[in-house]
Amino acid sequence: MLHVTLQQGGASINPNNVRLRINGSEVAVPEGTTILKAAALNGVEIPTLCEIEGLTPYGGCRLCIVEVSGTSKLFPACTTPAAQGMEVTTQSPKLYEYRKMVLQTLLAERTHICAVCVANEHCELQANANNHGVDHVMYERNWSCESIDSSHEFLVIDRNRCILCTRCIRVCDQIEGAHTLDLKFRSKSTNVIMDQDQNWGQAMSCTSCRKCAKVCPVGAIYIENENIEFTKDRDIAAFLSKRRRRSR
């Protein structure tokens, strides 16, 4: 039964193992497992931002890129399935440099001022930047002035801190089933919206379940007057989807 719980979403379940090498050590995982999970099962940690267990992978943040031998292309570990004979490298000077640039680019994209942010010290972007030694941003920063919506009874979104990872959108759609949240526009104007771009307080489909605030990796969605340490819960999606599968 082991591999059943490892499988995510609707991927077909196949007991066949694939063998691959991660950072030189040989590992075997059930077919359909992502490189990220294959690595995690074997004690290799790959940094992530948009990925969260229990939801479909998104492949947007690009923090989890890895090298695969035989091609110069880089692959996101969170979406790429492990394949027979693959040789994966998760750490290299090049990857490290690119990951630092991903983090710098995210910090430069919108107005991140950690000192006055609700998520200070509980933020995945900040933690990753600290761990990667991102001690400054090479670009001029963009001082965004996106809208802040506090019209909901207790949920608040400050889009100036949003990294567009879509965790909130996916949890709202895939776990809560409300699909209140989605994206509007493209390029730098991309933003998370509620229903047909209503204020959150007027978004009829929102069930106020708080899951979006729980999974938001940064200080973009939070609960008013609640300590963010108590709000954040990275495991909520995995926990609920596992429970539901069992009860079915």
Binding site: P57, Y58, G59, G60, C61, R62, L63, I65, L74, P76, T79, T80, P81, Y98, M101, V102, T105, L106, A108, E109, M138, Y139, E140, N142, I163, L164, L183, F185, R186, S187, K188, S189, T190
Partner: protein, 554 residues
């Protein structure tokens, strides 16, 4: 409804020929988007009136056709036999043309398109019928052998045989990446899931490129026949032609063509009295560049936000609604009937060994003969720019050629010997793209050009991945500083670092190729960057270069 048979096709051909033989002349008036905008519908009407006036309506046929490619000198009129191309035809000139050319049989040399070797050096396979048949009449297409290839594969070939033929032809995708078409078909054919789908890509979002539109407006049935053959080969049941809604005439032309094909049972079930069935639907896009990307197009056809997704899984296994899907550019598809009819060996004779056939381009910019051209693979850029395009007009100095649209590369004079094929272009930092060639002269600033295309990609980024969505705008800011005379030499390093990062880390082709103009201009025209930064000078006079004062920003 009665099913069409090969005999019926032949019957139509005979009828049409008989009908055509009654005429000594055929006057083809281009009614493509650009000629229509220049007034070709009035010209068409004037011809119809004039032949009546001269009483030659039984001797010559006036036809409404697609584009012959000389878009800058429209409206164009092609008179057969002899392929006399009249340019800049106005309703006023029509009487004289009919009188001299038709009645007196004296072509008017002065009014003919003076193109040098514009036509001679081209090799028209895909555009074989462009400007010669009426895209609104399926009979015209059948008369030039149309749907014969379909009949041949349905009655005489096994699907695998068709795939082998396409494999052997060496045809590669014309939509940009150049993936071998036969291999793609084999992947889809082998995929186990059903039903299977085909998507014909007519999104064509690159600014200034309109070769696919031109093809659809001139010869829609070639695309449809290509799709039908592909469907038979891979076992697909349903096809979509994804076309941007900014192409109303092409949409209309395709709609009409689909209706005619349906009426003749070329679409639907039991085509040519075989068990084969296939249907095609049009899907209109809202005109985002990124919607042409293969996974984004799938999302858009499904009615979702046109946003690319990571591959694998590849569309050949998991495409539309999770089913195996073949995505093919329309120009690629238009090659298929030719390959089937004439054989792969015949096809492979054109072009190069590793890269056979031809490629259509829209040739624009500072060039004497802009328009739609089709050249054999392997022709040098110099031949395209100077022999076909006629070089830079007005005695100006050639500076660079941008090939591959907003994500292509800017190549300088010394690289003009580069052959046009996927691999040679890649080697010098450009790409084939979907077929845009823009010629730049001494009045164009390379820094400003790179800035312009960066700005385009900033606006067109779908917003999914970090490097493209958040990285490209930072590059644009650096460009804006440089072109406003506020740059610093360290900015060149920032651009270099950022462009490599965006190229390597982005999710889809848009981000991966967006830095190409920056990378190539930095490689071949670095001195322009330096003079902008250190001397606040723009040779071409495009950029505003006042002395910047950081303390007091404007």
């Amino acid at each position: 409804m009665k099913q069409l048979k090969l005999d019926d096709l032949n019957k139509i051909v005979d009828q049409e020929l008989e009908f055509g033989q009654a005429y000594n002349y055929r006057i083809n008036v281009c009614c493509s988007t650009s000629c229509v905008s220049l007034g070709s519908l009035k010209v068409l009407k004037a011809f119809e009136d004039a032949i009546k006036e001269f009483g030659v309506e039984n001797e010559c046929k006036v036809a409404r056709t697609g584009c012959i490619g000389a878009c800058s000198v429209g409206p164009t009129v092609l008179i057969e036999p002899g392929d006399y191309a009249y340019s800049n035809v106005t309703p006023e000139k029509v009487r004289q043309i009919v009188r001299d050319h038709i009645v007196l049989d004296l072509p008017i040399r002065d009014m003919l398109y003076e193109s040098g070797t514009f036509f001679q050096k081209q090799h028209r396979l895909v555009l074989r019928n462009a400007g010669k048949i009426d895209p609104g009449r399926i009979q015209d297409y059948i008369c030039v052998g149309g749907y014969g290839a379909l009949c041949k594969v349905l009655t005489n070939m096994a699907p695998q045989g068709v795939i082998n033929e396409v494999l052997a032809s060496g045809l590669r995708g014309r939509g940009g990446a150049g993936f071998p078409t036969g291999q793609k078909w084999r992947l889809v054919a082998r995929a186990v899931n059903t039903p299977k789908y085909i998507v014909a890509n007519l999104d064509e979002g690159d600014p200034g490129v309109y070769a696919n539109r031109s093809l659809a407006e001139a010869d829609p049935h070639a695309i449809i026949e290509g799709m039908l053959i592909a469907a038979y080969a891979v076992g697909a049941e349903k096809g979509y032609i994804y076309i941007r809604s900014e192409y109303p005439l092409a949409v209309q032309t395709l709609q009409k063509a689909l209706a005619q094909a349906k009426a003749m049972s070329l679409l639907g079930s039991n085509v040519f009295e075989t068990p084969f069935k296939f249907d095609i639907e049009l899907r209109l896009g809202a005109g985002a560049f990124v919607a042409g990307e293969e996974t984004a197009i799938l999302a858009s056809v499904e009615g979702k936000r046109a946003m690319p997704r990571p591959r694998p899984p590849y569309p050949a296994n998991m495409g539309l609604w999770g089913k195996p899907t073949l995505i093919q550019n329309v120009e690629t598809l238009a090659n298929i009937p030719l390959i089937v009819q004439n054989g792969s060996a015949w096809f492979a004779k054109t072009g190069m060994t590793k890269c056979s056939g031809t490629k259509c381009f829209s040739l624009t910019g500072k060039i004497a003969n802009p328009g739609i051209i089709e050249v054999p693979m392997g022709m040098s850029l110099r031949e395209v720019v100077f022999d076909i395009g006629g070089g830079v007009p007005g005695g100006k100095q050639f500076k660079a050629v941008l090939i591959g649209g907003p994500s292509g590369g800017c190549l300088p004079e010394q690289l003009l010997e580069t052959a046009i094929d996927y691999d040679s272009l890649l080697k010098v930092g450009a790409i084939m793209g979907s077929g845009g060639i823009v010629v730049l002269d001494e009045d164009d600033c390379m820094v400003d050009t790179a800035r312009y295309f960066t700005e385009f990609c900033v606006d067109e980024s779908c917003g999914r991945c970090t490097p493209c969505r958040a990285g490209l705008p930072r590059m644009l800011e650096v460009f804006n500083r440089i072109t406003h005379g506020q740059g610093e030499l360290t900015d060149i390093g920032t651009l270099e670092k950022a462009s490599v990062f965006i190229r390597d880390v982005s999710l889809c082709g848009l981000g991966q190729t967006a830095p190409n103009p920056v990378i190539t201009t930095l490689r071949y025209f670095k001195n322009e960057y330096i003079s902008h930064i250190t001397e606040h000078k723009c040779e071409a006079g495009k950029c505003y270069t006042s002395r910047y004062n950081k303390e007091e920003p404007a």
